[in-house]
Amino acid sequence: MSRVKVLEEKHKLATRWFHWLNFPILAAMIYSGLLIYWSYDPYRIGLGNVTIFHFFPKGFYELTGVVQQLAIGMALHFAIAWLFAINGIAYVLYTLISGEWRALTPDRNSFREAAHVALHDVGFPVPLPPQGRYNAAQRITYSAIVLMGGLSLLTGLAIYKPAQLHWLSATLGGYEWARWEHFWLTMGYVGFFVIHIAQVIRAGWANFRAMVCGYDLKETEINTNGD
């Protein structure tokens, strides 16, 4: 018996394309969304007359160059939304049809296991539970992100055509709530991005390379005495 390295497929070609296409598309959606949000920016963290943080401070708008760009922002947002929707729907269909969803969706143990993963990741001496391609925390987070994408599409449509899609706007709590939900979903992506990047850096180069080229080396035992 001896140990050798073999090539192991970590991520399918389609998954990698969907993932990497989504990155610039979502970035463009967030930026064009900011061009729109600037012209009416009521959201804040606070209670009553006390505001802890207002989205966004004047300096942030000036820094990002979004001042007085509503018309171009709307046009960009409603153009790139097609790409966001098509890429997202194609990804969900691919995941369902190929069976890849099984590696991605949480099961009944995931929430308990995710707590262990989270404790382990912040430094507690908790053993990591056994995992498949994704650990429990990843399963929950990645599934949530896909759901959030769907909600962004729906809340976006509810804001885009609140009269023609009145049933959708009403389901989401009305026009103003739909806009609030749309905003906070976007804040969710920004939060996800920060944690995601930190975790990718922690996981190391081979993990990142696998998301780009799809493969990594895996050690395995083979029988070498000719039996």
Partner: protein, 254 residues
Amino acid sequence: MATKPKAPKTPLSPEQELARRSRRSFLALGAGTVGAAAGGYWIHSVMGQDDLPASLRSILGVNERVVRTALYSDRHLARTYPASAIGKIKVNGEIGMEEPIDQAAWCLDLAPLGSPARTLSIADIRSLPRFEETIDFKCVEGWSTVTQFAGARISDFTAKFAPGSEKAAYVAMRTPSKDYYVGVDMPSALHPQTLLAYEMNGKPLEDRHGAPLRLVMPVKYGIKNIKRIGGIEYTNERPADYWFEQGYDYYAGL
């Protein structure tokens, strides 16, 4: 994109195979990054321009066609509210209303499709059935205010004063000064909630809200809801539109 390497004489080791795949994929990622950066640079270059680039205009045109063929219906009504929900609407546009209006001298220039132009008085408008609606008035900026309006439906107005003009593709409206002007597609103009309004929140329309007559259509953003209408024309040519010329979507439908 990388080309396929020649078939090796000996099979590649797993390490070599990984390196080969990795090289190809990172080249593709690099090309994609350059493409995305070019896209970002293009967005940066079109910002701050007076008009939209033709490519974005054509996509907005596609969106309009999709909405008008697959989604729009005059049976789809904007939500209505109880009077208790009425808020305080702000005055956001004064273009075409800089000069004070002389209500007594006001008249409406009407140009039906294919028949002679005529002039109407406010009494003519008030002779039509009065409709009242409390709707959420939506500004293109993103805010909205529940407001009550009362006036005549354009469908009734057209049937009485410009019969046959329903066949036109558009309605053009302008202020008496011609400084503010909008074009509205006929289905949106004939929507049952589209009003030529002369009352707001239970009172005669105030000057700053467009007295004596303004357009109210909850199926469009406020930029199309022209105040102080001085002229109405039915036409098959797409009319000039003030905010379209400033880079906004022509349709601006909700």
